[in-house]
């Protein structure tokens, strides 16, 4: 049986869309395996992938701290680096949400950059929703024997509407059962600068989240944002829970050579 990705791979390279992969800071610095998994999935979906070396942070930490001047400077750099591609894809709902929903807010309507930011935003997608909604992927051809539960990250869910897409692709992974945790749509407590500004509140939120994860009896926690995943993995580790934590792209791409997040590291 040929999969959607097989069919897409058969397409002529002349018609293959170009994708600029927005790697994100956390993937680049903390978990590069997610970037390689993203490339594998995008190529399987028939895309020609490039990783512009001039890309930087999306500017979200500055934006969330009220520094719109610095954020606008970063936005110009990012737009210039990516506007030649058919699509801009990020393995993070948080960073993709910043590019798609907030860059436009940084420029006055009379500023030429407003038009460039608007055109840019129309081409930006979160990785998994791009694979399903734009490229029509339904089967990734991967295998993972186990039970996973999926956390819906705030920005991906609320800014970009990412909800069914990862579950749809995970249902095509052989051997994998997805079980829903209670309150899977509730924030994990990370929230970028929130966890730094309000550590006690953040800890109370993630404590509830890890209790729900544990109660799901899954042996694997998945999500589409590394910030959330690091936050939950850290708490799970400190609580002595043994559930593995991975970015959803790693499972979908069948790239599981890297130890699960936090494994083999002392996070106490």
């Amino acid at each position: 049986m040929s999969t959607a990705s097989d069919q897409l791979n058969d397409a002529s390279s002349d018609t293959a869309p170009t994708v600029g992969l927005f790697v994100t800071c956390l993937v680049d610095l903390m978990r590069p395996s997610v970037g390689f998994a993203s490339v594998k999935l995008l190529e399987a979906a028939g895309c020609v992938v490039e990783v512009p070396t001039t890309q930087t942070c999306c500017g979200q930490p500055a934006f969330n701290s009220g520094d719109t001047k610095t954020t606008a400077d970063i936005a110009k750099q990012v737009i210039a680096a990516f506007e030649s591609f058919d699509y801009v894809v990020a393995p993070s709902g948080s960073c993709a949400g910043m590019l798609k929903a907030h860059y436009i807010e940084l420029f006055d309507e009379n500023d030429p950059w407003h038009g460039r930011a608007t055109a840019f935003a129309a081409r930006v997608h979160e990785l998994i929703s791009f694979l399903t909604d734009v490229r029509g992927m339904t089967d990734v051809g991967a295998r993972f024997d186990g039970t996973a539960t999926y956390h819906d990250s705030c920005s991906g869910l609320r800014e970009l509407g990412v909800k069914t897409q990862p579950r749809k692709l995970l249902s095509s992974v052989g051997g994998l059962t997805v079980t829903e945790m209670t309150d899977c749509e509730v924030c994990c407590g990370f929230g970028g600068t929130f966890s730094v500004k309000y550590p006690d509140v953040s800890n109370a939120i993630v404590e509830k989240k890890t209790a729900n994860i544990s109660a799901s009896e899954a042996d694997l926690l998945l999500a589409g944002d590394l910030g959330c995943l690091f936050n939950m993995a850290g708490k799970l580790k400190r609580e002595g829970r043994t559930i593995a934590v991975r970015h959803v792209a790693e499972v979908l791409a069948g790239q599981l050579d890297e130890p699960a997040i936090g494994e083999g590291q002392d996070m106490s």
């Binding site: 309150d183 924030c187 929230g191 929130f194 006690d200 509140v201 939120i205 509830k208």
Partner: protein, 132 residues
């Protein structure tokens, strides 16, 4: 008047963990999460989960911001409140949530309120008469 993301996260935390309270305790406004069996006078500002019963009898999940005062305080005050209506938080003074319930201001006030964690008698919950 939407509730900002940071406040929303804090309100959601109290809604899912009503046994907890947010305490803003000192001059640096340090925020701590505590689980008191009772909130007493003179311990700064508390954010507490509870319930508001509108004049019409409709009950709303709520978070109440209560100033218990300085250590020598003799009374506490309800400083602010938030209502959870359908799928969103609405701050004090924002009546758009009530409109979603087709409840007029005159039907909502005064409302009775009560916190999940009991208050000391001197800061006892009671009736609130105004929207702002």
């Amino acid at each position: 008047m939407p509730v900002d993301d940071e406040t929303r996260r804090t309100l959601n935390m109290l809604r899912t963990s009503p046994e907890k309270a947010v305490r803003v305790a000192d001059k640096l406004k340090t925020i701590r999460i505590v689980e008191p069996t009772q909130v007493v006078l003179g311990e700064g500002v508390y954010w507490l989960y509870g319930e508001a019963e509108l004049d019409t009898g409709v009950c709303l999940e709520s978070v109440f911001v209560i100033d218990t005062g300085d250590p020598d305080a003799t009374s506490g005050t309800l400083r602010n409140y938030y209502w959870w209506i359908i799928d969103n938080w609405y701050p004090q003074g924002d009546l758009s949530g009530l409109k979603r319930l087709e409840i007029g201001e005159d039907e909502a006030f005064p409302f009775r309120w009560k916190t999940n964690i009991p208050l000391d008698a001197s800061i006892a919950s009671g009736r609130h008469h105004r929207a702002d």
